[in-house]
Symmetry: C2
Subunit: 343 residues, 2 copies
DNA sequence: AAGAATTAAGTTACCCGTAACGTAAATCTG
DNA sequence: CAGATTTACGTTACGGGTAACTTAATTCTT
């Protein structure tokens, strides 16, 4: 049974010092291997540290104002979307390897949630913040500007970031996919995605996509599943909705691979042949694509690498190394076999 | 461009107080709505807070020792496995709603990583810890015991937990699946999973599974993909390995649905019909199953609910409400159509 | 109107480490 | 061997809040 208490360390540095018969300062020096003590003293102090199970209170160190914390706030829209889970994994692994910790914030795709989270997390004096997306509330932007710590905006490349931006240009990515599908001969194309209140990368992507399709003489029918996570079932259901409401659609572009997979299953369940009766294109090149019988037409984005790059740039900034303010992580179109090959 | 600095708040409570013409203490009282000040004073102070953009430094509050922090350390093996991503989502959403933050630790399934992470995170004076799994290193256990904060062990139910345990009994879950498959008439059954150095829930599950199968007169052929994440491709590849090495296997049980899906794809790619030529059973009932043409035989575990329950029990313990020390979150066998129906 | 009770403040001390500075003992130097 | 230097410590002060205590001003009571 746990006693209610706020202090983790019953045992403080003073206690270790006292019992070892040295001053607090000497004990502190030993623990930081700072030098300026004899071997005999080191042994005495370390013996007490082990004996008492002393754990330093890093709060005190940071609080004293001479070191920055090893917290990095990381905001992620949601983890139901495998893409973001991978990005987070990349971030946390790299941060962990470099001695830092992620303080997570799931923003549910809303700027208000993000703002609240930023306010709270800043009060814990993080070393820096990694935020998903480039759109933030006005108050959030002010707080971020005043915080005076590194801010890395990921996912959605931003040529004039608050501080550092890593990701891809979603407009271009959407555009490339649109051009590719038009090049495959499709004219009437559907789009199935989710929709949230705020502008985001997916909507930017859709803009680029539409521009390419419409510029190539095609049309785009949109089907947005409101307030759903971009995963399998909304893909299945959204496809049903889309095809129920519009005739003559030859190909569907999805917000991501999970939704595309749901759509693929819908089409096959209705006896449609892919790609002969319906073209399917996804986005993200998720692991599931590695085992599917048909190679899904998609867009490869190095999610894990994106997360790692974000963490690395954060750490570089923290150690005052030069860091570019804007890194394009790139994407690659996967032609796949779920759309008819371009002529 | 960011100036190197450790303090987030250029502006401290003293400054707010000074400029508002009151003492630090009065300003503190206003900010905490503690009472004991006039309306005029409140307005004066709050005006300065807004004007200066003051953000409290919570480190100082916790450090002072009178409040516990709002950090909760959460250790998760990896996020490539959708199951754990869902659990984390459940935890963080609930914690967030209750004003707390998750400090993430990805342990890569190793006790040593977990131990290192525990040491670090404890030094930040968290309010509590949520750990995945019931197996910890000896040093870790000592630190956890001494920490004197709530510890919730999730995933793998533990009848004598360090503090609180939430999850399911994996032995029973494996046993039930084994009994079910034997009841379907299978005798020679394969298992495909990943393997790590340490004991874990998956191995407990496999033990239960083998007991049921062997008790029912069947045999289990194991195929463990070493040091891989339990996801699609290892499922595909592991199936190839398994079937290349053993003859006469009638049905395969997988560590999870993602692996099972990979196996299903392998079988179909080789022209085997499921379930006629090969039975397939997964574990976890992942979202992908909701759109597959065949309903995957699996075991439903309420992942999100598990995470939420863990967070709720943590918060209950923190507010000194009574909490059971061991909660079974339950599982449910999904018969599906990827194995032949029981006779 | 004098004393009691309440309200609205201010003062002091503390939390736990570490920077900066001070000092005594040991070692080195010429 | 005296003085300079180095080593091995100790002492003091500080950071940003808050608990606990004190004080001054206001309001209430009889």
């Amino acid at each position: 049974m746990v006693e209610k208490q706020s202090k983790i360390n019953k045992v403080s540095l003073s206690q270790v010092a006292r019992e070892a018969g040295v001053s607090k300062m000497t004990a502190s020096r030993v623990l930081r291997s700072e030098g300026g003590y004899s071997e005999k003293t080191r042994v005495k102090v370390m013996a007490k540290v082990d004996e008492l199970g002393y754990l330093p209170n890093r709060l005190a160190t940071v609080f004293a104002g001479d070191k920055s914390s090893t917290f990095v706030g990381v905001s992620i829209p949601d983890l139901g979307n495998e893409v973001f889970a991978q990005v987070l994994e990349g971030i946390d692994r790299k941060l962990g390897a470099l001695g830092h910790q992620s303080v997570l914030g799931l923003t549910q795709h809303t700027m208000q949630e993000e703002e609240n989270w930023i306010r709270t997390v800043l009060s814990w004096q993080p070393a820096g913040l990694i935020l998903t997306g480039r759109y933030h509330s006005q108050s959030a932007i002010e707080m971020l500007r005043n915080a005076g710590i590194p801010i890395v905006e990921i996912w959605d490349l931003n040529s004039s970031p608050l501080d550092i931006s890593v990701g891809i240009n979603h407009f271009d990515a959407g555009f490339d996919m649109g051009r590719y599908l038009v090049g495959c001969g499709y004219k009437k194309i559907g789009y199935v995605g989710t929709s949230h209140d705020t502008a985001n990368a997916a909507s930017t992507r859709l803009d680029g996509f539409c521009k390419a399709v419409e510029g190539g003489g095609g049309t785009v029918e949109r089907q947005l599943c409101l307030h759903d996570t971009a995963t399998y079932y909304p893909g299945f259901y959204g496809t049903e909705q889309l095809l129920g409401g519009a005739r003559g659609i030859e190909c569907i572009f999805y917000q991501n691979d999970a939704m595309a997979f749901g759509g693929l299953q819908y089409c096959e369940s209705k006896g449609m042949s892919v790609p002969d009766d319906m073209g399917i294109a996804g986005w993200g090149d998720l692991p599931i694509a590695s085992v599917m019988g048909k190679r899904l037409t998609s867009m490869h984005v190095p999610h894990l690498k994106l997360g790692q790059a974000a963490a690395e740039m954060m750490m570089a900034r923290l150690s005052d190394e030069p860091v570019e303010t804007c890194r394009d992580i790139g994407f690659r179109l996967i032609p796949g076999s779920t759309v008819t090959a371009p002529t």
